[in-house]
């Protein structure tokens, strides 16, 4: 079952740590968002493979936007 990882706030995408096709463990950092001078890591909520990555460095995400999908 695909697991969608969503942004919890409006933020800039500071770093994208993973690539599509990577295998990740539960709790791995996928991307790092930046807002108000804070770096907010977005973590995998399950182990699996990155089946889709919807953001790139420098993008702005809104609350609720899908960042990545883990299958």
């Amino acid at each position: 079952m695909a697991n969608e990882i969503r942004a919890e706030m409006v933020a800039n995408v500071w770093k994208v740590v993973v690539s599509q096709g990577d295998s990740v463990a539960d709790g791995d950092t996928l991307v790092i968002l930046e807002s108000m001078k804070m770096e907010i890591p977005v973590l995998a909520e399950a182990a699996g493979t990155i089946t889709a990555l919807h953001v790139g460095e420098g993008d702005v995400v809104q609350e609720g936007d899908v960042i990545a999908e883990i299958g």
Partner: protein, 446 residues
């Protein structure tokens, strides 16, 4: 003495510096980005100059724009506040080269303390305790294992280019080092484009204790006690207090003497802070870094000493003696600062917004340094600090009572706020007892 001071900053610290500048009978010039035009500090300055768009690189960190604003307004001195250009040694030099007074230490002192490895070597040579660690990045696993024998376990494996707590791991023995070294190295390479790794002594339970120093115009360095900044989330301070509940007279004497030696090692002038880690288990402290500027949490030091640190900065910059006699100045009572941030009180995620309600607490022993007011907007472009609630009492118990009342009286709506966290912290038995360490916030949220 110079007559016009440009404040190269924004929000609460710009407002606070402007107040002292004006109280001293001097003229204050504010600079602001497009989105900050409506903030209180812009209105309260004697003159304000728009210096660029919201992005800090194009406004508050834009040295050329700040210098041009100084030229336009006839400012003779520049106070950098904290952050932005405050620890940019090139900017300090440019200010001096433009014939202006830089309200801060020399460009050389800023540069020396800005390079973490150089700073550590400098202060160690001056007799200040430093943690055991690698003096240069470790290139491979064999070198790491060899270096670890000299440092001892447990140790911290961290990305040289990292920061903010990312790219760090603890290794309790050689087997763990072997596992963690490659993990951190891989992470550092992917994340920062630089796989260099440092090894450092790891302290399981530490407090973050720092000493306020002031380098006088005559070359002497005096210390103004310590601040305990152990209440942190994501390695950033949320609450600070002085005196530290963990520091007695003997330890204070040692820490103050070490901080003065560290500042003297770079011929320090003006206000600065020597940050240390205090090992809760052993009572030993080690140098962490020196911040060559005014600190966010400076008000707690002001309240217990009854002095204005910004005034001292301006006097030192003008070549004058301080307003107090360093030989007789003694602290009195206890002070606590609570940072009111635009972030939720549980996970501390940022939540900017327009302020629809804003009522600051007041009363005996309560000071509020705020950057915003009702109708103004906290934007995502800058840090989340909206205001600092600072309380002073005759002892820690009275300061805690005043802090609880002040938090309860603060009315704030619009952006997210961490006031509920502060209310919880002020009732937490670990914080109330004074026996806490930098793991407290994580323990409260576990």
């Amino acid at each position: 003495m110079f007559e016009t001071v440009l404040v190269a900053n924004r929000g609460e610290i710009a407002r606070r510096v402007i107040r002292t500048v004006q109280r001293m009978g001097l003229r204050a010039v504010a600079v602001h980005s497009e989105v900050d035009a409506g903030l209180p500090y812009v209105r309260e300055a004697d003159e304000a100059v728009a210096i660029g768009p919201a992005a800090p690189a194009e406004s508050y960190r834009n040295a050329a724009a700040v210098l041009e604003a100084a030229r336009q307004t006839g400012a003779e001195a520049i106070h950098p506040g904290y952050g932005f250009l405050a620890e940019d040694h090139r900017f300090a030099m440019q200010v001096k080269d433009a014939g202006l007074v830089w309200v801060g230490p020399s460009s050389a002192a800023i540069e020396a303390m800005g390079d973490k490895i150089r700073a550590r070597n400098l202060v160690a040579a001056a007799g200040v305790p430093v943690s055991r660690g690698t003096a240069a990045p470790v290139v491979d696993l064999d070198a790491a294992v060899a270096a670890a024998r000299g440092i001892g376990y447990p140790l911290m494996v961290k990305a040289s280019a990292g920061g903010g707590g990312m790219g760090m791991a603890v290794a309790g023995d050689e087997a763990e080092l072997r596992a963690q070294f490659e993990r951190v190295q891989g992470f550092a390479g992917r994340m920062f484009g630089d796989p260099a790794v440092l090894l450092e002594q790891y302290f399981p339970r530490v407090r973050h204790v720092e000493v306020q120093v002031l380098g006088l115009a005559d070359g002497r360095v005096v210390a103004l006690g310590e601040r305990d900044c152990s209440v942190q989330r994501r390695n950033q301070k949320l609450v600070e207090e002085t005196p530290s509940p963990a520091v007695g007279p003997a330890l204070r004497g040692e820490m103050v003497a070490a901080a003065v030696r560290a500042a003297e090692s770079v011929g320090y002038r003006g206000a600065g802070t020597v940050e240390c880690l205090l090992d809760v288990e052993t009572g030993d402290f080690v140098f962490l870094e020196m911040n060559t500027r005014l600190q966010v949490e400076h008000p707690v030091t002001e309240l217990v000493h009854g002095i204005d640190l910004v005034q001292q900065q301006l006097l030192v910059a003008a070549g004058r003696p301080p307003s107090f006699d360093p030989a007789t100045l003694r602290p009195s009572g206890h002070a606590i600062e609570l940072r009111v941030n635009a972030e939720d009180p549980v996970r501390f995620l940022p939540g900017p917004g327009t302020i629809t309600e804003w009522r600051e607490p007041s009363g005996e022993g309560v000071r509020v340094d705020a950057g915003y007011a009702v109708g103004t907007t906290v934007t995502p472009h800058y840090d989340s600090l909206m205001a600092k609630v600072v309380v002073h009492g005759t002892d820690r118990a009275e300061a805690l009572d005043r802090a609880r009342a002040a938090v309860a009286d603060f009315r704030l709506a619009g952006p997210k706020s961490n006031l509920a966290f502060h209310a919880e912290l002020l009732e937490d038995p670990r914080f109330v007892s004074g026996d806490y360490d930098t793991g407290l916030v994580a323990a409260m949220r576990a």
